[in-house]
Amino acid sequence: MDRVPILKLGDILIVSIQIDLQDMSVLALQEDLSERVVETGARGVIIDITAVEIVDSFIGRMLATIAAISRMLDAETIVVGMRPAVAITLVELGLSLGGVRTALNLEKGVALLNQIEGSQHSTAAW
């Protein structure tokens, strides 16, 4: 089973999904990610799905679940790099990923996290 690597950049965790997601690797990713969030005390999680070309309702739910878990652990989740075709598919499936923030690319995702941080605390430490 392929494990999705989790990268740490400052107090942000970056997950770049480059493989075809199987159900098992998704569950493993959820566990790994929640452990790493606790371990590092990260304030943000960015999930990069630029390389994901095909989505189904399971992956849509996975994104929402990861966002919910991270929020419980006080980290904001941002999904970045969604392809147009993927976005259209999700809309057709009736999944609007409520509660998940999105950004066009990794750079804008990081900027968005900093902006959220800035609005929550006046001290933008990152």
């Binding site: 999904v79 259209i88 999700l90 066009l104």
Partner: protein
């Protein structure tokens, strides 16, 4: 009985083939006259020359098909070409069909002169062949017309969906004309792709040119906005005219937290504000420029 009939038919058919050979020049001339009179003199001189050539080719192909024991593929190819040409040039179906059926009339005059029973029997057989070819011509004509319509619809689709850049990070889609599923799909894909390509976080969908909004169109618009939101961009819908606003409310369509503006200018102002650009009136700065110059 069947055998006897077919023997008669064969004899008739042979007679027709002979007549075709003997009176080639006459039949062709008469055929051309009939074909020309059908077009009512609308064609110019060059077209008429072309028609004579086409008829001669058809005639040759028909005679060839007699020799090849009824293989009509060459003839059908020529006919398909003729009817395609005519469909493109805007001839009516009747004008196109009469070209084929004219041959029947042209031959009938020859058969009448001949007067033999074989020739009459053969004419019935020949008449059936021509009817088949006539139907084939109509089919080619109709399919050529359909192809033109499909091509035009595609061209319209390409023409009518530009995505324009209004500002750094702001794109707009001015929609003109009736929205249907196919068009919305194209608009949606093009807009989302532009968002990715240009890295724009704001989009304005302007529906000033959309004559009517029903539940279906509203649904399409909402889908586009949600898809853009999933990708991390915000959409504003602008150009909602009073009647359309009325319709939307009457239909009970919920736009939720989607920002809607009356005019494109309002939408642009909103997106500029959202992306942190400040617009100030230029009156004072002009004075400032003058002082620098002075």
């Amino acid at each position: 009985m069947g055998v006897a009939l077919s023997v008669h038919a064969d004899a008739g058919r042979r007679r027709i083939e002979e007549l075709f050979q003997e009176h080639e020049a006459r039949i062709l001339k008469r055929w051309l006259e009939i074909a020309r009179s059908s077009t009512g003199g609308t064609g110019n001189q060059a077209d008429r020359g072309g028609l004579a050539d086409q008829l001669r080719e058809l005639y040759q192909a028909l005679r060839q098909s007699f020799d090849d024991s009824g293989d009509l593929s060459d003839l059908r190819g020529l006919l398909a070409e003729l009817s395609r040409d005519r469909a493109r040039q805007g001839f009516t179906p009747t004008e196109t069909a009469i070209v084929v059926f004219g041959l029947k009339e042209a031959l009938y005059e020859i058969v009448e002169e001949d007067g033999s029973p074989e020739a009459v029997r053969g004419f019935i057989w020949f008449s059936r062949v021509i009817d088949d070819l006539g139907l084939f011509t109509m089919e080619s004509y109709a399919s050529a017309r359909e192809k033109i319509i499909i091509d035009q619809a595609e061209q319209l689709l390409e023409l009518s969906t530009p995505v324009v850049k209004l500002w750094e990070g702001i794109v707009a889609v001015p929609l003109v004309g009736t929205l249907d599923s196919a068009r919305t799909q194209v608009v949606m894909e093009k807009l989302l792709q532009t968002l990715v390509d240009t890295g724009s976080e704001h989009a304005v969908i302007d529906i000033t040119g959309v004559p009517a909004v029903d539940t279906e169109v509203a649904q399409h618009l909402l889908k586009t906005v949600v898809a853009a939101r999933l990708m991390g961009a915000e959409c504003v819908i602008s150009g909602i005219r009073p009647q359309i606003a009325h319709t939307i409310v009457t239909l009970g369509i919920e736009f939720g937290d989607i920002v809607t503006k009356a005019t494109l200018a309002d939408a642009l102002a909103h997106t500029l504000r959202a992306s942190g650009v400040k617009v100030v009136k230029g009156g004072e700065s002009r004075i400032a420029v003058r002082t620098v110059e002075g």
